[in-house]
């Protein structure tokens, strides 16, 4: 990858929960404005890895990361956490809208970051909902509670909410695992359309999903990054045996 095509550079990342190490010397480069998938069996550390990228592990006592992660050549591990999270957003496995109206959910990130003018908020909320392909469905009910939406709509709402602050990177932790196939398809379409404006990193336990949407894929096993390459190569001609075993379903 050419140097200016790299958005995030991870080098020798080790991660510990107290004395127990759960990530071992992870190194990879995330391409700008592309979708990168992280796959692997349950417990392999893929969610842990994702959560180091916006330092969400800091809510857990005794969790620590060592090594280097660069976001556009800035050290992500030492920069201000709040500033980091405004540039690197996250969408969680289960939709987690706030118990507020649809409008206030999207506006939350904006208000927290200092935007208070009614007109600016209105404009950004609409823009985010359009980007998340949700505007037409909710434009007449912006002041209804977010909980009135279906699960699939709530997840798109959470994506819109994350997009509202214009993050450079969007982390998605198994965003479709709580959704039915139709809602999943809508979100995959949405992710595809977002990559021009945003770098996306998606953790998924669904290999077909990774094959469908991602340009690059990383395979994790037991806290180690076994293989990382263009999706085509990972799925068609994997270099490592463990990768091949996982892809062909020899273990899940």
């Amino acid at each position: 990858m050419a140097a200016d095509d790299v958005k995030m550079r991870v080098s020798g990342l080790d991660f510990y929960y107290g004395p127990k190490q759960s990530l071992f010397q992870i190194s990879l480069q995330v391409p700008t404005n592309r979708i990168t998938a992280v796959i692997g069996p349950s417990g392999c550390g893929k969610s842990t890895f994702l959560r180091t990228l916006n330092r969400m592990y800091e809510t857990v006592p005794h969790a620590r990361a060592e090594g280097e992660i660069l976001l556009d050549n800035e050290d992500l591990l030492t920069m201000d956490a709040v500033a980091l999270r405004r540039r690197v957003g996250m969408v969680f496995q289960r939709p987690n809208p706030f118990p507020k109206s649809i409008f206030d959910n999207i506006a939350y990130g904006l208000r927290v970051n200092g935007t208070h003018s009614g007109a600016a908020l209105q404009e950004k909320v609409e823009k985010s909902l359009r980007r998340a392909a949700l505007w037409d469905e909710v434009k007449d009910q912006l002041h209804k509670s977010a909980y009135a939406l279906s699960v699939g709509q709530q997840q798109r709402l959470c994506i819109a909410r994350a997009l509202a602050v214009d993050p450079e990177v969007l982390l998605l932790d198994e965003p479709c695992s709580a959704l039915d196939p139709i809602a999943t398809a809508k979100i995959e379409e949405l992710l595809y359309s977002l990559q021009d404006q945003c770098t996306l990193i998606i953790v998924t336990h669904n290999m077909q999903q990774a094959a469908r949407v991602a340009d690059f894929t990383g395979f994790f096993l037991l806290g180690k990054l076994i293989e990382y390459n263009k999706t085509e190569i990972i799925f068609k001609t994997p270099a490592k045996k463990e990768t091949e075993d996982y892809i062909t379903g020899r273990f899940g």
Binding site: N54, M56, T59, P61, V82, A83, R85, R86, G89, M90, F92, R94, N96, P97, F98, P99, K100, Y108, G109, V112, N113, Y147, C158, R161, A162, V165
Partner: protein
């Protein structure tokens, strides 16, 4: 074999009846007390009772208006003191970690809750009444406020703990600081539980008599301001009940009825509003 079967059935039936009877008796006391108050106090209850000051003994009429307003004033003062402290303390316990300090705080709050209310009265007497050299609403309010703190701490903490981690993470991931997350997401999400806790707290403390006996004392008249003795429903009921006058006894019943009604209404309203909440 047959005999054992019948004996087992009999024991089952007997225990069912016994436990059912005890449950009924437990619940029955509330209705018994309520019924007694209505029976004895209902006839003395009138608009005049609620709006007039006490009259000298022997003169007909008179009421407990000053006690009703006085209780209101004392509770207002107690809330202004006890609720912010209890609420913020509860926020600390629920949101900020550590192991030994929160444990000590929680344990101490529970101990404070168990302190006999008369001792809290003595405490307030020593630190407010003695320096001021007179009884006052301030002292009474302080005593009641101290009693409100541990309940507010625990109920706030419990309400905040019901807010799922997912919501907090959602806010943090958007770039909110910990305090902003607490103030703009966690507390609003828990507001029903917090408000419920506060209302029940006030209702619980509304009927406390012992801490007021030598702090707020009592007053047959209105007490403007905060540094004079002030009437309150529980103390007025007590004063009238131990007096030798029939007329005052009747009024004590009525006062008791008013007090119990207010407490019950607060409890019922709160329970109804909680159960009416849609499940999430």
């Amino acid at each position: 074999m047959q005999w054992r079967n019948s004996r087992r059935k009999f024991v089952n039936y007997f225990m069912f009846s016994l436990t059912g009877l005890c449950a009924l008796v437990a619940v029955g006391f509330l209705f018994f007390i309520l019924g007694y108050l209505v029976w004895n106090g209902g006839s003395s209850l009138s608009w005049a009772f609620l709006t007039h000051l006490p009259t000298p003994v022997g003169e007909p009429g008179g009421g407990m208006a000053n006690a009703i307003v006085g209780s209101g004033k004392l509770l207002l003062l107690a809330s202004a003191f006890g609720i912010p402290i209890g609420f913020l303390g509860g926020v600390y316990l629920a949101e900020f970690g550590g192991r030994s300090f929160p444990f000590v705080v929680r344990y101490t709050a529970d101990l404070l809750n168990g302190v006999p209310s008369i001792l809290i009265g003595i405490f307030a007497y020593a630190i407010v009444v003695l320096p001021m050299k007179h009884f006052s609403a301030l002292a009474g309010g302080l005593a009641l406020g101290v009693m409100m703190i541990p309940i507010a701490v625990r109920s706030t903490e419990e309400a905040l703990r019901t807010v799922p981690l997912m919501l907090r993470e959602g806010a943090l991931a958007l770039g909110a600081s910990k305090w902003k997350t607490i103030a703009t997401v966690v507390v609003p999400a828990a507001r029903k539980g917090i408000v419920t806790g506060i209302i029940l707290d006030i209702a619980r403390v509304a009927g406390e008599t012992a801490p007021l006996l030598f702090t707020a004392l009592n007053n047959q008249f209105w007490s403007p301001g905060w540094n004079q003795p002030i009437a309150s429903l529980p103390v007025m009921v007590y004063t009238y009940a131990i007096s030798p006058y029939d007329d005052w006894h009747r009024q004590a019943w009525a006062g008791g009825l008013v007090l119990l009604t207010l407490v019950l209404v607060a409890n019922i309203v709160v329970r109804l509003s909680v159960s009416g909440r849609s499940a999430r």
